[in-house]
Symmetry: C2
Subunit: 241 residues, 2 copies
Amino acid sequence: MSTSTLPDGDRRHARREATRKAILEAAESIVLEDGVEALKSKALADRAGISERSLFNHFPNLNEVVLSRITSYLTRLLSEPEIPAGLPISEIPDALDRKFRASFDRPEADHLFNSFLALSLRLDTEMVDLLGRHVVLTLADVSNQIMESTTKNYPDLDFDQNIRVRMYISNLTNGIAFGLLRGIHRMGVLDSPTCGSPEHDGDLSPKSFQGTEALELLNLEFLREDIDWAFEQVAIGRPRI
Amino acid sequence: MSTSTLPDGDRRHARREATRKAILEAAESIVLEDGVEALKSKALADRAGISERSLFNHFPNLNEVVLSRITSYLTRLLSEPEIPAGLPISEIPDALDRKFRASFDRPEADHLFNSFLALSLRLDTEMVDLLGRHVVLTLADVSNQIMESTTKNYPDLDFDQNIRVRMYISNLTNGIAFGLLRGIHRMGVLDSPTCGSPEHDGDLSPKSFQGTEALELLNLEFLREDIDWAFEQVAIGRPRI
């Protein structure tokens, strides 16, 4: 739809969103092509076709641009589908479990996950640390969104049912991070310095993805087992180990 | 111990910590005495006995000072006690459950919670929103600290056991936030505008603590039931509603 048919406020909003999107896309292509060290404000503004001043009207700093782009893939990966409306209340927990698994079955899931991973793998150590905090906040936001759409579809939940459903959503959402951690471990990358690429310094702690070329082979097909395992652990509750 | 007996690096560190502590304490007393609107950089620096420049060497802005102080109470409330070392592995989950409950039984728990609440209740709407994000990150940090001390005491956990224990710790930690939400609801404050104080605007959404004088009556004795309930939900796993 052309923005010229919209009222003024909407048109301004649409233009703002378009600029924001251009910045995010430009940042992604610079980082993927030339690495995160090539992401400078002039290069980014040029690539996005805007002024440097306009760039910093949209984002407080360059780290925020890249981290927003990375976490946007996570949000898109997890926010669809909604659970169906009109189920008996007792079926909501199962529907949530199916909903989370279904997120990873969608045709676009592989692209979203691979894009998330490809950018994450290009971050330096300091940014990986920041990414960790952004991911925690993003998972909390996703969890809140899912809670809100579920509560909207099921306004008859009493307060304790509502909180129990919220806790389950929150624990399933966080479970994805633990599934990812398990998958990375299962690949053997973090424990085995021989997988490190020789041009890096061999720091294979989870703080640094650098030098872990094997991680580029990580994909949803491989991880699926770990994510399902993590959801199962949430369903079990207190672990019996 | 006098700092003059320490090596140079340690002495610098101790001095830095002492200044940081003075800033945090000064900010707390200003906010408690005169409200968050009285927290200006000059007043804060004067009260802490430092220059404004030194203030901003320690904190990027005034919001960070208050939010750091508030979340420090949460960290101190939740980080003790550790679980005992030397248990059979199968008893770790129960020990974690007991550990979380024991945090609230310590003599200092009431003071820590009341201090957390008293400062939180003085925030304006925008800062309450920021506080939410700080609390999410603080709970993630606390959860990581507990995981690390547990892993140190139990190095023989295999990788899946380790992740299951981590997920349980993470879900119990987050459970505290849901217990608090339930307790606030149970007090009836957020649902009943008649509890609002007349000098405020009656916005009783969870986004704003303003006008909810009844919340000042919230204490750990009242909340204990809700926190125990939340831990029980985590132990149950997938809810049966």
